[in-house]
């Protein structure tokens, strides 16, 4: 109860600031661009088109029984959210040092606002995703109503990663470069453009520990195969998201008072 009250109090005090930071990002992002917010819709489609041409025509990847375009776009939508949000969150604390150094603001608000900002973008990219789902004849079903569960898990996981990365990057600025490499490796270790069944069983087993695979897999079984996700899938998503989320909070909380010395 006390925890809930605390949360309410915090929201009342800093909710407006959070909202302002998210709106700021939105305004700045599309300022002076001709197409503006249309880019949020266009970009994932373009990415999908390019990758579809490369992987299905050049490398002959395919996903038997389901549309490869839809398969690809689900993975891309989820992974792009994670990669963009975690990258922005990582640099958010360092980028706002001038502010942290002058006014007392809870520092977690910066990574959190970035994850929310990209989150709104993510919701917009669902529009092209559904256009593709319908255009490829994949069809809709009632299980789609369960998809927000995977959105929440993806969000919590990303916030946790954002906390961890932003903490590390304060003490080790090399992290910005290192993470670029990590993300590239992560792209290929997540079955975005290929089907998991084409790799060997040991790797398949290891891949189950990749939280992003869990989230994407959850969405694919609903959208492509029309199945209700198994209990194992629910658990896989929730557990991996919560572990990283709380680990992130723990690390950030423990180190945040030291940030100021590394300005």
């Amino acid at each position: 109860m006390k925890f809930i009250n605390n949360l309410k109090w915090t929201y009342k005090k800093y909710g407006f600031l959070l909202q302002q930071l998210v709106t700021r990002d939105f305004k700045v992002k599309y300022k002076r661009s001709v197409l503006g917010i249309v880019w949020s819709l266009l970009y994932p489609i373009m990415m999908m088109a390019v990758m579809a041409v490369v992987f299905s025509n050049v490398f002959k990847f395919s996903t038997p029984g389901v549309s490869y375009l839809a398969y690809l776009l689900i993975g891309l939508t989820y992974f792009n959210y994670f990669s963009e949000a975690s990258n922005l969150a990582m640099s958010s604390v360092v980028a706002n040092f001038s502010l942290i150094n002058k006014v007392y603001i809870p520092k977690y608000i910066f990574p959190l606002s970035k994850c929310l900002f990209v989150g709104i973008n993510f919701l917009l990219t669902l529009i092209p995703l559904y256009v593709v789902i319908i255009a490829t004849g994949t069809g809709l079903n009632w299980w789609h109503l369960l998809l927000p569960f995977s959105f929440i898990c993806l969000f919590l996981f990303t916030v946790g990663m954002g906390f961890i990365l932003s903490t590390i990057s304060v003490f080790l600025r090399d992290m910005f470069y290192i993470y670029g490499i990590i993300i590239t490796i992560w792209t290929y270790l997540t079955p975005i453009m290929y089907d998991i069944s084409i790799i060997n069983p040991t790797l398949q087993f290891i891949m189950k520990f990749n939280p992003l695979y869990q989230f994407i897999n959850f969405a694919r079984s609903i959208i492509l195969y029309g199945n209700c996700p198994t209990l194992g899938q629910f658990a896989g998503c929730a557990v991996s998201a919560l572990i990283v989320f709380f680990l992130g909070i723990f690390i950030f909380k423990k180190k945040q008072d030291k940030f100021i010395y590394y300005v």
Partner: protein, 249 residues
């Protein structure tokens, strides 16, 4: 006599900086030092040493001292931006820190948008900014530039806007770090009048300035810091002693 109410209680505060941190760990240095078994040199610097004072409600306290004496660090500790290495600080009231105005601005946004953003950074609610919006615009005299991105403003205009936002509420504790020199002469007079108005309204003020005249004019008490140590706390006579001390140097 009215009973004095303590607003800020600074209890034996010490603040240590580790200057070595600035360099941090670098691969190059690691190779250079490899095999040398160099003892790690302790490169510490005490920005504040056992600073201990109390400030009562409604007092205006000036902080003086040479550059690097620890004035700004002390204000940051009071504002809650830094946690002291030793000791504790208690503030009984909401604090409005006016330390380097405009830090919360986004240069790409317009003045109108920045009023909301910076207001949120200062901890105001949306309702408060809505109701004070006109007043802020009026005071800053920037009505014609409301929808211009702040990056096109002159530094004086930015400072005016920031000052207007910062002083719109009547905080119980106001922390001012060298900002009364913003804007042109007319605005300087205006901002000083505004400060005086806040002071007479019972706001407790912590004031850092290198202008001894300003300190003498505004402050009830003066605290002189030297190398992180409190040299003297007292009335305006501390200013004269400080001037004498600086002249001898």
């Amino acid at each position: 006599m009215k009973k004095k109410e303590i607003m800020i209680d600074v209890d034996n505060v010490s603040m240590r900086f580790n200057l070595g941190i600035e360099k941090g760990f670098s691969l190059k240095q690691w190779f250079v030092d490899f095999g040398k078994h160099k003892k790690k040199k302790k490169n510490e610097f005490w920005a504040l040493k056992d600073v201990d004072f109390k400030i009562n409600r409604g007092e205006v306290v000036g902080f003086i001292g040479a550059n690097g004496a620890g004035k700004s660090t002390l204000l940051k500790v009071v504002a809650g931006v830094m946690k002291p290495t030793k000791g504790s600080v208690k503030a009984y009231g909401n604090i409005c820190p006016m330390i380097e105005l405009g830090a919360g601005f986004d240069s790409q946004l317009t003045a109108r948008e920045n009023i909301y953003l910076n207001g949120a950074v200062m901890g105001y609610s949306k309702a408060l900014i809505d109701s004070k919006f006109e007043e802020i615009v009026e005071f800053s005299e920037l009505r014609d530039f409301l929808d211009v991105p702040v990056q096109n403003f002159s530094s004086g205009m930015v400072a005016r806007l920031a000052f207007s936002i910062a002083t719109i509420v009547e905080p119980e504790i106001l922390i001012v770090d060298e900002i009364l020199s913003v804007g042109d002469i007319a605005f300087q007079a205006k901002s000083e009048a505004k400060m005086m108005e806040m002071i007479s309204g019972g706001t407790t003020v912590l004031f850092v300035s290198h202008s001894i005249n300003q300190i003498k004019k505004m402050c009830d008490r003066v605290l002189w810091l030297e190398h992180g140590v409190v040299q003297k706390i007292g009335g305006k006579e501390v200013c004269d002693e400080y001037i004498k001390f600086m002249e001898k140097k």
